[in-house]
């Protein structure tokens, strides 16, 4: 029977500050800072107000890029799961970093579940999600991944894209290395961070290593709107 460790906390992140590892902010969780065995990891998180971003690394590998979270008061599994396909080795240090750019302290509620993995560790899935991202009126093909960590796939990967919008009127296109993956199409006006699998736009798209992923939004609605997006890159080889 595989062993399971659950690391869960609700922590206040101070205004305009960065907490380099929220796990150590709780003294009783320090013992879980390093993975006790080879395991499969799952992370889910919500925040009390917009403006706090998290990232997750194990060892020197990033598996959750700087990501915004759903605004809520309770964790919902699987809807608030950022990633459930990352595989830290025994002894790998978990680093959950939180950055609050607002003028008020914000609550971060998170849960990390480590389930023992007895076979050879598979490739990881890298995730990044953002929102709300403002798309001004009359914006054509605003590039949402420009300059971000996973604009290019680090290794050969399979891509899945999830998107929602704050209100009706936004359309999106997806290109991979200039090849059109998804033509212009409306985005569901659900006004929240996308949920897996309900808000999936495309999945199973092969992205070769170092090729650019272009996720663009167009707003011709007459007013400013916001878009929320999430990408998952399931690696085909383990680095």
């Amino acid at each position: 029977m595989p062993r399971t460790i659950i690391i869960e906390d609700s922590i206040s992140v101070a205004a305009t500050s960065i907490n380099d590892n929220v796990i150590v902010s709780n003294a009783s969780l320090r013992r879980y800072l390093r993975a006790p065995f080879n395991c499969r990891g799952k992370i889910m998180a919500v925040i009390s107000a917009t403006g706090l971003r998290i990232s997750l690394d194990y060892g020197s590998k990033n598996v959750v890029g700087e990501s915004d979270l759903r605004v809520g008061t309770d964790l919902q599994d699987p809807l608030d799961v950022l990633s459930d396909m990352w595989f830290p080795e025994e002894g790998a240090q978990l680093v959950l970093r939180a950055a609050n750019t607002t003028g008020g302290a914000i609550t971060l509620r998170y849960r990390i579940i480590l389930t023992e993995w007895e076979e050879e560790l598979p490739p990881d899935c890298r995730v990044q999600q953002r929102g709300p991202v403002a798309v001004a009126n009359n914006s054509l093909d605003q590039q949402l991944l420009s300059g971000l960590r996973y604009e290019r796939a680090p290794v050969d990967s399979f891509l899945a894209v999830f998107m929602t919008a704050s209100a009706a009127g936004l359309t999106r296109q997806i290109f991979c290395d200039t090849i059109s993956i998804a033509p212009s199409s409306a985005i569901a006006p659900l006004n929240r961070i996308p949920q897996d699998p309900f808000d999936m736009n495309v999945e199973g798209i092969e992205v070769p290593a170092d090729k650019q992923i272009e996720l663009s939004a167009t707003n011709l609605s007459g007013g400013s709107l916001n878009v929320f997006w999430k990408i998952k890159l399931q690696e085909t080889v383990r680095l």
Partner: protein, 161 residues
Amino acid sequence: MAKTLEELEVDLRAVTTRLTVIDKIVKAADLGQEMILVFRCNHSGLYFPSDYIKEWGRLYGIGLGPDPVSEVLDTDYSISPPEITPDIRTPDQIMHPVGHCRVQVDMHLAPAEDIQYAIPAHEDPGMFERAKVIRSRQMVNPRSRLPMVMLAWDRVKKGAF
């Protein structure tokens, strides 16, 4: 925030097909009283403008889901203020965490002089203004641990540790 009757009708149609509210506004105006159509937060008692529902997801409530709720910030006193670390440079950074209360908002007709509007999120990106107001209330709320944390802050500043 005077609106024309046509603008009011557009805002009202986002909520209901019954437009009798406009008749009440006109009748009150004839009697010399200015009545304003607003949406009231049931938790804080603060008000939002008449276009709150119509502009949900565009101006108001970005990221709070498809159904209009109150975006007024509330304090979570069950979670302690963050610990004092070298990253904390000013005492204003320390406070109980806040979150959107997300309670029901109700349509309301109120005299103009009685209305206290909430600061909408789009006018205060980063919640710097709202945090100031909430923090001042946290300092006097009996449930708050902030006054004790401020004592600790003063000691840290004076090098007591």
